[in-house]
């Protein structure tokens, strides 16, 4: 089924009291896709999700669900279900009745309800807990019930608003994989909201990076991580070193970038040729530090500042002549003998540097 369009946002804008919270969003979500809205707190992720669910009306723009325009459709008529951040399990009903609620509202027969609820509870491994009240369950169990309550309705689209935000780290990691597997098993379109970039990279088919109500970039986790288009994306997803300098010359397929008092040759591209000011992003793990320049890759002369052991790698901090600091991740074995305030050379392969558009 992958490939059929399930959700479409066309120029969707939302204002609250004249403040633009979601700004001209255009998005195509395919059936069976795991799509994540990723961005810092306050960037409009929840509002976007609530517009798809029908709890908020776009100030302008169109929303299509499964090909039908739904802007004026009440939430209870939309074939989407939401897993709320606070779970919102009904406190006066036991687990079974919570999960059965949606089916009861749709007047599904008693026998079928029983069958489907049992199946949903089994899917989240809580079939024994039907008679418990939500408050008798742990946070992780409540989370699973919230998911069961939503998927039991066979929604076309499942909306999840930071569903793992309240869980501790270990449980969160475990649930990330479980949710991913669940989504693959059920083949339901997931629209997932998080501010945790690692979570987004782990779970998603595609990631929509949002900033201040606008889309910064849409792409697969790999594209987002390895080919960030903007400084915001490069910075928000993982860690990176951003070198900004002036393009002083363009000759053929190479361009010259002036960084502090040095120049480096970078591959020319449409972005470079156009701009005087350019930004180059290089991930810490793609850089090396040595006492002498290395033949082949690009070398940048810096001053060694410190090294920090962080378990999996050692972080090396160096300083450019203009004071800007770069961080390099080296595996422990490969670290050269470095002396404080000595000159060192930071090097990387040109293909590991990404030009950013802004």
């Amino acid at each position: 089924m992958l490939g059929v369009q399930m959700v479409k946002l066309e120029h969707v804008t939302k204002e609250f009291d004249d403040t633009i919270v979601v700004d001209d969003l255009n998005l195509d979500i395919k059936a069976g896709e795991f799509l994540t809205l990723l961005g810092p707190s306050g960037c409009g992720k929840t509002t976007t999700l609530r517009m798809i669910a029908g709890f908020e009306k776009p100030t302008s723009g169109k929303i299509l669900l499964n090909g039908n325009q739904v802007d004026d459709m009440e939430p209870y008529k939309r074939e989407v279900n939401t897993v709320f951040q606070s779970y919102s399990l009904f406190p006066h009903m036991n687990v079974y009745d919570n999960v059965a609620f949606g089916l009861k509202m749709k007047k599904v027969g008693k026998e079928e309800i029983k069958e489907r609820v049992t199946k949903a509870l089994k899917l989240v491994q809580l079939e024994e807990y039907g008679t418990r009240k939500p408050k008798q369950l742990s946070g992780g169990q409540q989370q699973r019930i919230a998911i069961a309550r939503a998927i039991v309705n066979n929604p076309k689209v499942l909306l999840l608003d930071e569903p793992l935000g309240a869980l501790d780290l270990k449980l969160r990691k475990q649930m990330q994989l479980e949710l991913k597997h669940l989504q693959q098993t059920l083949n339901i379109t997931f629209i997932y909201v998080t501010h945790d970039q690692e979570e987004a990279l782990t779970m998603s088919d595609r990631i929509v990076v949002m900033n201040k109500g606008k889309i910064e970039q849409i792409g697969t986790p790999r594209e987002i991580y390895e080919k960030p288009r903007t400084r915001f994306v490069a910075d928000f997803i993982g860690q990176t070193n951003i070198l900004d300098g002036n393009v002083s010359a363009v000759n053929g397929d190479m361009a010259t970038l002036e960084l502090a008092d040095q120049t480096i040759e970078i591959p020319n591209s449409s972005e470079v040729a156009l701009k005087e000011h350019a930004f180059l992003s290089v991930r810490p793990e793609k850089m090396k530090v040595s006492n002498t320049p290395i033949e082949g890759p690009i070398n940048l002369k810096c001053t060694f500042k410190e090294k920090i052991y962080v378990g999996s790698v050692t972080k090396i901090v160096v300083r450019l002549s203009d004071g800007k600091e770069l961080t390099i991740n080296e595996s422990h074995e490969n670290i050269a003998e470095l002396t404080n305030n000595n000159d060192v050379y930071v090097s990387w392969n040109p293909e590991n540097a990404v030009m950013l558009i802004k």
Partner: protein, 283 residues
């Protein structure tokens, strides 16, 4: 453990002291008086007697007590029916909320007596209500709105409606709105959301409103006094009369105690009943 228990009592002791002084001691007084002998001009003779209870259980007083419970119950139920939509409306009135709440509370600051007088003007035979109904040709003879149980119930409802509105309002106001969204998200139309989520989750407010309306409504005597000129009686009237008119403190005390026990019993019954129903509703 033991120590902290003691400490808790120590901290509670001021309130326990006042509670004892103003609640337990008077009740004991009343209980004692109810078993004494009635002397001339209301004198209390400390000689054991159950005569007061014999009269209290006589058919005359039993009828008044039964009538009071019945009227108070009907008035409380009417209050509930009127108050819930009203409270719901206030809770959803946005910026008008505070003003509306103020309007509900204003009558609290005016004496009930004064407020009931204004209803007499509305309800008597030549009052506004009868005039309008007759002018419209809906009725030929003026309705005996006053001097009727219906009038008493109107008075009770009017007098105690705020007691019902406020706790219900507060429970609706405090209801977490995401429960309502969750319900809607799962396909419930607004009426279903109301019946399945809002109503059960605001039940504590209904319960509180029921109790604090019913308890004062059952013993009030100004409504019957003003609206029926003493023609109809509630238990409050006979208790007052026993103390102040007949100078029979023993009877007044016995009736008071009886009323207290009845109210407590009916509240316990009510709570039991609702709890059980609650449980049924939830499982």
């Amino acid at each position: 453990m033991r120590k902290s228990f003691k400490k808790a009592y120590l901290l509670l002791s001021p309130s326990l002291f006042w509670l004892t002084l103003f609640l337990v001691v008077p009740v004991i007084f009343i209980a004692v008086i109810s078993f004494t002998t009635n002397g001339d001009f209301g004198a209390i003779i400390y000689k054991f007697s159950t005569k007061a209870y014999a009269s209290a259980f006589s058919s005359l007083y039993a009828k008044v007590i039964w009538q009071s419970i019945w009227w108070a119950l009907v008035a409380t139920i009417v209050c509930l029916i009127v108050a819930y939509p009203f409270a719901y409306f206030i809770a959803h009135a946005g910026k008008w909320k505070n003003l509306l709440l103020l309007l509900v509370m204003v009558p609290f600051w005016t004496n009930l007596l004064v407020r009931l007088y204004s209803w007499i003007i509305l309800m008597n035979n030549k009052g506004v209500i009868n005039n309008v109904l007759m002018d419209l040709g809906i009725i030929k003879e003026p309705l005996a709105l006053l001097y009727s149980p219906g009038g008493v119930i109107i008075g009770l409802v009017y007098g105690f409606l705020p007691f019902m509105i406020l706790p219900i309002y507060s429970s609706i106001e405090q209801l977490d709105k995401t429960f309502l969204e969750a319900s809607e998200d799962l396909g419930a139309r607004p009426i279903k959301t109301f019946l399945n989520v809002t109503l059960p989750l605001t039940f504590p407010g209904i319960l509180a409103g029921f109790i604090i309306t019913f308890v004062p409504a059952i013993s009030v005597f100004v409504v019957t006094d003003l609206f029926t000129g003493g023609k109809l009686l509630m238990v409050g009237n006979v208790i007052r009369d026993a103390f102040l008119v007949e100078m029979n403190w023993q009877l007044g005390a016995a009736l008071s105690l009886l009323l207290m026990v009845l109210v407590l019993l009916s509240l316990m019954l009510f709570m039991r009943f609702t709890n059980r129903k609650d449980r049924k509703l939830l499982t």
